[in-house]
């Protein structure tokens, strides 16, 4: 099928062709075939013209996480106002909620085992210290306050704290030691 016939078929039906065009067409194909080609081409282009993608599809696609949100049309004169407002909000939040510069409290407990036999353990707390580290941003050494932990004398962490001895050691009283070791019914 030559291109001239095809372009004729796109434009007009067989009856609308002039004599020379009809001759050209008839040399190639019967009039009915030309007419069916014309009818097909004319109809094909007009088909489905009012068909559109489902409306929900657009909104779904625009919510895709890889798409950046559209830039808002804020006027230029509004920008300094917005910046000032954000600064004011920041200052207010600092004033009402001061920055936490202290770490959570640390507790240290030193105990001494008084007695232990099998599952029986008797312990006594010797020292319980609790401190919180606070960072002071001052360079002046006069105002420097050492952390509480530094103020606690190192000697208190020594487990061999001299204790006033009263009574006798359990090791010196075998009867008492045996008593702890006896079954419940025989005590």
């Amino acid at each position: 099928m030559n291109d001239i016939i095809l372009s004729l078929a796109q434009e007009k039906g067989f009856d609308a062709l002039n004599g020379a065009e009809k001759e050209l067409v008839l040399a190639e194909m019967p009039a009915s075939e030309y007419e069916s080609i014309h009818l097909s081409l004319a109809t094909l282009k007009e088909m489905d013209q009012d068909v559109a993608a489902p409306p929900s599809l657009r909104a779904t696609l625009l919510r895709h996480p890889q798409l950046q949100a559209p830039v808002s049309n804020v006027s230029v004169w509004k920008m300094p106002l917005a910046i000032a407002a954000s600064f004011a909000l920041g200052a207010l939040s600092i004033a009402f909620f001061p920055i936490q510069n202290a770490a959570p409290p640390v507790e240290k407990v030193i105990t001494q085992t008084i007695f232990q036999r099998d599952t029986v353990v008797i312990r006594d707390t010797l020292v319980r210290t609790r401190w919180r580290t606070r960072y002071v941003f001052k360079t002046d050494s006069q105002h420097f306050v050492p952390p509480i932990a530094a103020q606690v004398p190192a000697s208190i962490y020594d487990t061999a704290v001299p204790m006033g001895k009263s009574g006798s050691a359990i090791g010196d009283t075998p009867a008492l030691l045996d008593f702890f070791g006896l079954p419940e019914g025989r005590k």
Binding site: L39, T43, K45, L57, R58, L61, P70
Partner: protein
């Protein structure tokens, strides 16, 4: 002045611009949906899915766009490959066995004004459904999407002569189906 498709695509590549994407979608969605509808035997749900996949691909892989090519050619190439994959996956052609299945079910399909016109369109749709996949691609792209032979050869990655011959056989087949019913 209207921003070109290629410039909008560049904005999507550079900064995933939602406005640029929305503009491209508004220009091309109806056309691509129609194309899928024609290629997928008038199955509206399938056409909507493929349209969505196509535009998701634009969002997720915009770097695949070659700025030296026309946007429309690239878009149709993606769409044609989707159809090819779909045919391969479901062997759609085998389903086109009888008339009612291929000729439209969908609410999206509006009935023309006259019964003759409706019958003619149905006959044409049926004839297109019966075309083999490469012929149908060529036929729909040329006579319904109005692309040039050169563009079709780029999209289908085949010589222009092959496109012309496919078009010739497809047109003969479709017009024969119409002639049997309408032309006395």
């Amino acid at each position: 002045m209207q921003v070109s498709d290629e410039a909008l695509m560049q904005a999507i590549i550079d900064r995933r611009d939602a406005q640029a994407f929305a503009a491209l979608y508004d220009r091309w969605s109806a056309r691509m949906y129609r194309y899928f509808l024609r290629m997928m035997n008038r199955q509206a749900a399938k056409a909507a899915d493929l349209t969505q996949d196509l535009f998701v691909k634009i969002i997720e892989k915009p770097h695949l766009f070659d700025p030296s090519r026309r946007f429309s050619t690239w878009l149709y190439t993606l769409a044609a490959n989707q159809c090819k994959n779909e045919y391969r996956r479901k062997k759609l052609i085998e389903q086109v066995e009888h008339y009612p299945e291929c000729c439209g079910d969908d609410a999206a399909l509006q009935l023309p004004e006259t019964l003759d016109r409706a019958l003619l369109e149905q006959q044409l749709q049926w004839a297109i459904c019966l075309l083999e996949e490469p012929q149908r691609q060529c036929f729909v792209l040329r006579w319904q999407e109005d692309l040039s032979i050169k563009e079709i050869s780029e999209i289908m990655d085949c010589p222009e002569g092959t496109v012309k011959s496919r078009l010739y056989y497809a047109l003969r087949q479709v017009s024969a189906a119409v002639r049997d019913v309408f032309v006395v």
